[in-house]
């Protein structure tokens, strides 16, 4: 598993796409926090990172899908899947190696946003400071959300040998699980059905963790979500044997 993990990290950092994707993420979040009117911290006058945690889920849909799109589809397109799967490693280890590498890269991309936190906390009113607890729980929520996106991305990548197809499928699925299901709760006509459907969406649990309430039910939801998509990826990946 670690051999695959290391190879993935190396090949991703060796490709141009890594730096574009990471740069775009930091650029957009930076613009929202510091520059764009209406959303920047100075104008809002609140020393917190709520802006980041509100927009990051949408930007992450693109970022994570771009990171995971080639993980399995490239192996299939090049045919290297044949030299990979004939080694003494199980399919599950290969998938986990790829998944953890994607997750590691996402966390690595999120790290620079800690500078934003540092800057904001130095700008904050010395008497009140920033809400440390809420920030950390939001980070936890964001990482769990990104981990869920990565499992969707892995699944999408297992489906096709075309990276672009994988990218689009992954983005659509992520948007469905985060955006669409999150919206259903707001539609009054759907009433309680909408509310219960909303529970299945990622947004509901992300918001719940971001509020600083660390409920084990939310954690279990995320872990179950990730496990289901990794399981589905394994099923698709093994379909060559059918």
């Amino acid at each position: 598993m670690w051999a695959v993990f290391k190879k993935e990290i190396r090949s991703f950092l060796g490709s141009f796409i890594a730096y574009i994707v990471m740069g775009v993420f930091l650029l957009i979040t930076g613009l929202f926090i510091w520059v764009i009117e209406e959303t920047n911290v100075m104008d809002i006058g609140l020393a917190n990172m709520q802006v980041l945690f509100n927009i990051a889920p949408y930007i992450l849909i693109f970022l994570v899908s771009a990171i995971t799109m080639r993980s399995l589809s490239e192996e299939k397109r090049l045919g290297t899947i044949e030299i990979l799967t004939t080694r003494p490693v199980s399919d599950f280890s290969i998938l986990m190696g790829k998944y953890l590498a994607a997750l590691g890269l996402i966390i690595f991309t999120l790290l620079p946003t800690l500078f934003y936190y540092y800057s904001i906390s130095t700008l904050a009113d010395p008497l009140q400071g920033t809400d440390v607890g809420a920030t950390w729980s939001s980070y936890c929520g964001l990482i769990l959300l990104a981990a869920s996106y990565a499992s969707i991305g892995l699944f999408a990548s297992a489906l096709s040998d075309n990276q672009i197809v994988s990218l689009v499928v992954s983005m659509v699925l992520c948007f469905f699980w985060y955006g669409i299901l999150g919206l259903l709760g707001d539609i009054e006509a759907l009433d309680t059905i909408g509310k219960s459907l909303e529970w299945f969406g990622l947004d509901f649990h992300y918001k719940s963790i971001s509020r600083g309430v660390f409920d084990t039910r939310d954690l279990l939801y995320f872990l179950g979500f990730i496990a289901s998509f990794i399981g589905a990826s394994k099923l698709v990946f093994e379909s060559r044997k059918w």
Partner: protein, 240 residues
């Protein structure tokens, strides 16, 4: 401790790619797998390498059953797939390191050095695989197959696309390996079979139509060349 295949069958959809074939390869033997395109050579090799499972039949390699001990067997088998797929953006040494780690090799440095030396890619180790010529890529593929010192080698058209000099070098490497390993290789080049193999298995339409030593095959065909024997056995359209 070699390869033993009994009543092996493989079906793709409604089509039988392999139809109850049986053969065995003993240690120290180099067996040539011949047959027209689509005869089932690559399918057999993919099954032996553990890439796809068989529909029916049994395969025993190194005394272990392939279905039950797939991972264990993969430690003892080296496989060079058809068309030799490689990570073109990796450096040769980097790829071999990955390959060795994946195979669970203990003394990684030694293993890489040995494979590089054996396949004569010492000067290429710091180059990107994508920059190499086809002949060198083929050697990198062979180095990948060899890196964990397997007792069985499965080589699917190891010399396809090589120029005559490269093909001859490849042959000598394989022949050298054949003294201590069990080798099954497929090819379309008859001289290659005559130069390397002690036995020949000819496949056609998923069935074995000949399985004999080179000498035996020639004796039954009363002095015909291997090429003529091959054409007689597999040419269904009639002689041209």
């Amino acid at each position: 401790m070699g390869i033993k295949v009994t009543n092996l069958s493989k079906r793709y959809g409604a089509q039988w790619a392999l139809n109850t074939i049986s053969f065995s390869v003993s240690p120290g033997e180099i067996v040539g797998f011949l047959g027209p395109n689509g005869a089932g050579k690559s399918t057999t090799m993919k099954i032996l390498a553990g890439f796809i499972p068989q529909t029916a039949g049994d395969v025993t390699m190194c005394g272990l059953d392939l279905k039950e001990h797939s991972l264990e067997i993969r430690k003892k088998v080296g496989y060079l797939p058809e068309n030799n797929p490689l990570y073109l953006d990796m450096y040769v040494a980097e790829f071999l390191l990955f390959s060795a780690e994946l195979a669970g090799v203990k003394h990684i440095k030694n293993a890489i050095e040995k494979a590089i030396e054996l396949t004569q890619i010492v000067d290429e180790r710091k180059k990107k695989i994508g920059q190499l010529s086809k002949g060198y890529r083929q050697r990198v593929g062979l180095a990948h197959a060899l890196i964990h010192d397997p007792s069985i080698l499965i080589l699917d058209e190891p010399s396809s696309g090589l120029d005559p000099n490269q093909a001859i070098e490849m042959r000598s490497v394989i022949k050298q390996l054949g003294t201590e390993k069990t080798i099954l290789l497929s090819t379309h080049i008859m001289q290659e079979v005559e130069a390397m193999c002690s036995r020949v298995i000819i496949l056609d339409h998923g069935k074995i139509i000949a399985d004999d030593s080179l000498i035996g095959l020639k004796e039954t065909a009363k002095g015909l060349s291997l090429e003529a024997i091959f054409r007689n056995l597999t040419n269904h359209v009639g002689s041209i």
